[in-house]
């Protein structure tokens, strides 16, 4: 973090540095948008006046400055103005490498196990790759496009891996819920199990039970679903705010 911050600081200085480094003027044919304003201070004041975050961002930059390590500071001078090199020279991180990762996809031949592709291993490998990418975001490149698509892993491989371990539990739960609701309905209304099957309300109940068991697997899921609902209606409320005055006791 501190490195990336300090790395970044050169670029924030750029507008300040550039006027002094005498840019070739005729370069800029389309003036207004390109003019390297001598008005850098104007930018900063405007940003801070206009929004708090601008000020915050400026503050972080300032804060990061003292921490600039020697070599990087030196580099920032040499690469004055260019965005790319500053990072490139420091980051020696290599690309993701794996013997089975060939030309932007997993070489499925290498995943073969007794004549069949071992999809579990493919999933493992891809998870590892994504994990790695999460920690070391890689530059995109048009020369080596990524071709791997998770949809080439057949659906049953996913089901086998993720659903089956839980299936036992879910089936058990569904059966119990079903049995008790059938019992309850029977005891309250006197409609027997067989009759319930022909009844629309009971069929709906059955559907609700199954959906419920699927959606709510753990206790936290209830909270999650609640939050989700709040989130989906939040924007509606923000939009509606203007019309709110109207609703209570407005003479119409």
């Amino acid at each position: 973090m501190s490195i990336s911050m300090s790395l970044f600081s050169p670029s924030t200085h750029l507008p300040t540095l550039s006027p002094s480094s005498s840019y070739p003027k005729p370069h800029f044919t389309l003036k207004p948008c390109l003019s390297l304003r001598p008005k850098t201070p104007l930018f900063t004041t405007r940003a801070s006046a206009e929004n708090g975050a601008g000020a915050a961002a400026a503050a972080t930059a300032v804060e990061a400055e003292p921490k600039v390590p020697e070599p990087v500071a030196a580099k920032s001078e040499s690469s004055n103005g260019s965005a790319g090199p500053a990072e490139e020279e420091v980051k020696v991180v290599s690309l993701f490498e794996d013997a089975r990762w060939v030309n932007g996809t997993w070489d499925l031949k290498q995943f073969e196990k007794s004549g069949k592709t071992d999809w579990d291993a493919v999933i493992d490998a891809e998870a590892r790759r994504r994990k790695w990418l999460q920690d070391n975001p890689e530059s995109s490149s048009n020369d080596n496009p990524i071709l791997f698509d998770t949809s080439i892993v057949p659906w049953w491989a996913w089901v086998k891996r993720y659903h089956l371990p839980e299936a036992e539990l879910l089936n058990g739960r569904a059966a119990m819920v079903g049995f008790f609701s059938a019992y309850l309905v029977d005891s309250l209304t006197g409609v027997g199990l067989v009759d319930q099957m022909g009844n629309f309300v009971c069929k709906t109940l059955l559907f609700v039970a199954v959906a419920g068991v699927l959606l709510i697997r753990k206790n936290e899921d209830v909270e999650k679903l609640k939050k989700l609902l709040d989130e989906t209606t939040f924007y509606d409320k923000q939009w509606q705010a203007t019309w709110q005055d109207e609703t209570p006791g407005n003479p119409k």
């Binding site: 590892r128 975001p137 989906t232 924007y235």
Partner: protein, 468 residues
Amino acid sequence: MASIALKSFVGLRQSTLENPSFTSQSKPISSFPSSPRTFRVLAAKTSPKVAGRNLRVAVIGGGPAGGAAAETLAKGGVETFLIERKMDNCKPCGGAIPLCMVGEFDLPLDIIDRRVTKMKMISPSNVAVDIGQTLKPHEYIGMVRREVLDNYLRNRASENGASVINGLFLKMDSPSQGDGTSPYVLHYTEYDGKAGGVGVKKTLEVDAVIGADGANSRVAKSIDAGDYEYAIAFQERIKIPDDKMVYYENLAEMYVGDDVSPDFYGWVFPKCDHVAVGTGTVTHKGDIKKFQLATRNRAKDKILGGKILRVEAHPIPEHPRPRRLAGRVALVGDAAGYVTKCSGEGIYFAAKSGRMCAEAIVEGSENGKRMINEGDLRNYLEKWDKTYWPTYKVLDILQKVFYRSNPAREAFVEMCADEYVQKMTFDSYLYKRVVPGNPWEDLKLAVNTIGSLVRANALKQEMEKISA
């Protein structure tokens, strides 16, 4: 919960249903003792004529919203004043306009710097998807420079009779009497165009005000419109070597991923002769520079050797202000908060809202002959919400579903590879109308998307296990 959601829809449209009843109302109901926040709806037909002059309206802010509003007002016979503090202001802005805007606002083609016909979406694991193969030959996304577009719209307003004032709006005095006809007094500093000149403080009396002065609107403040949540957008204009520029000739790139932005996307947009590289976020504003660095890193080879021309940052509203009008003052554009989620688009909506608001004023005042009131401005708001609410909501849902996490973004990119999705997206973007899709395709799309989401999340689980 569901009932609330349902009710909210009713709320938005409620006044539409009731509309006929209050336009036909014969006498004003001004005698109601109402709290300041409840509004009265007066019938326009009964409002007094303005004697000896036309209705005077001030438009604060000369961006797309202000320019479009002033033009429509001036054409409609209203005496219009457009106040803009900096005529050559080039606002930090992506600058993308949909195709329909060119037609609707009759824009000359030479203000469009570039025609983007290809988009590349790049997922966190660098899967790149080309969008735009479905575009027809004449279809494109226009990239403009704001200083050019704004200037053009202002000039057109001026040609139609609006007086354009170079001045800084300071504050506004609300009418002293509540009779609905006394003027608003605007205080502003006028600059006579001489560089370095100190402005002259002036006042201006007008009958109505349109606030088009952007995210930090002073008009909004003066009518106590409330605040909105905003995203901060950070952008660097980078001049890249010509051979690299060829690639960005007519192509824009979007990067998604936790590294570039936790809740938005990073972009590389082609500009007149350089590219704009930027990113935005709502939730982690303090880390914006880190995200910018990550965006540059993701595009590294393609912008290698570039020179930074300028660095800019700007707030982007996330949702409309709690109050978008009060009395004879209405907000439009960014000042009102009309920026879509997900794509962060605002120019078209700003210009459109400016025009719609002006149309409501022209109509309510019968071409500048009568006084207007809050009811007339409400018509604009009503029409606006009815027309564009679905668009905003859909984009909000998209953002919530697909910008949520890295697995969701992977699924998003996978989804965008589908031609049907591309066609639908571009149609709705370029023409700003929601075309009903093919139900069978929709169903297929839903199944595929859920499949993508499930797979990506399954992988995510696996990734967590590795770290454990």
